[in-house]
Amino acid sequence: MKAEIGLVWRLLEVILFFAVIMGLVAYMTLMERRFLGFFQVRMGPNRVGPQGLLQPIADGIKLLFKEDLTVSHARRFYFTLAPIISLVAILACFAAIPMSGRFHVADLSLALLYIMAFSSLGVYGVLLGGWSSGNKYSLLGGLRGAAQMVSYEIPLALALVGVVVLSGSLSMTEIVQAQEGRWFILRQPLGFLIFLTAVSAETGRTPFDLVECENELVAGYQTEYSSMKFGLFYMAEYAHVLLASCLATHLYLGGWNGPLLPPLAWFGIKSFLVFFFFIWVRATFPRLRYDQLMSLSWKALMPLALANLLITAALVVYPPFG
């Protein structure tokens, strides 16, 4: 009996965790729109509720009640499957992200690999969505997205290996514990920059939003999507940004470590600041050209990430001050 109560309790915890994630994702859209507004000296959405606080709820209701169109030349099965893959692949990653030492779904010993594995499955959502729409702009967007995500995954993984070498573990909890006192951003400044660049390319945000670049491709792979199928893609995109913020916090900014405030608060503050940084970048930089995007990944980030890994490994094996 006791075991069953424990199990139910655990399930409730998991549901609560994902409810928090989905709530955050909804309100991240509002944050992004408001902050972008401020960056561009305008107000942003501020009409629904005080300071526009009910806007995400209104958007959600609107998306749910819109007509769900499927264009006649779409491949129905894959057309429906694509947004589901996108969202599920990202949400599965959150299972391995602890929000504090206690509030998490699972403390995996191979957490980092698990996250890499599931976030790499997100490519199929973009690819299938673009292809199954039966529209040339969608197809181009999907192909671009897949090429971009696959090529930026390599520098991203190499940058993460630097962190793994320093902490000697793939578990999120142990990586955070290894940073008590000195955050990895101080020991891996180059790695942090590579991580941020690669991860914003992975999430497909400006300046890397070639996937849905509106002046060339209408809306890329999302062109033919409407109603909640579009909503799923949208949620997946913001969940990916949230995942990136949480990862940056855990891997480079000391996770939930910090004085005075409770761990959960520190984690929240740091993740919010990273997310704010992403918005800032989006408001600041123009979009890259596609060839620039590819040469940045293969000719700049790859060698830098390899050099970073080499130096990190050398310093770990032959510590200069010890």
Binding site: Y114, A117, S120, A146
Partner: protein, 169 residues
Amino acid sequence: METAIFWGLSFCAVAAALAVVFLRQAVNGVMSLLALMLVMAGLYLLLGAQLVALFQLIVYAGAVLVLFVLVVMLLNLERKPARPLLYPGKPAVASLLALCGAGFAAILRWAPPPGGGPMGGAVKPAPPIEQLAIDLFTERLLIFELTSVLLLAAAVGAIVMSRKAGDLS
């Protein structure tokens, strides 16, 4: 519980593998292959080999198959006539398949079960990742490095083959 999951996953694996061979459209075949990869990862996980399962996802599902899908989508193969190949209706293929099936059945019937049960007895817990790294970089270093040379040669070969004649860049 584990036995039930094992049979479920095995059924899915066989179904997906058959779908790879028999589905007419190339995209359906590739997506079945993806399903097969995922199910295989599940089977590895069931065996307690988390590392293998995750690398299966990262390398095969996350990278190799993406290229397959890209190629299939770029070539738009479904406009081509359906491939005229390997359907059990043809007598030669059907008899070959029946022979293979009989062979498998014979193996299953007469081979001694490896340690009893479909799970092969008690599953040993996977060694920690540190042990794997130590093995890889001490005892098996030569093979490991030789594999990388092989991969490099394959990559160079692919680049040479994909280059157009007369293009020296």
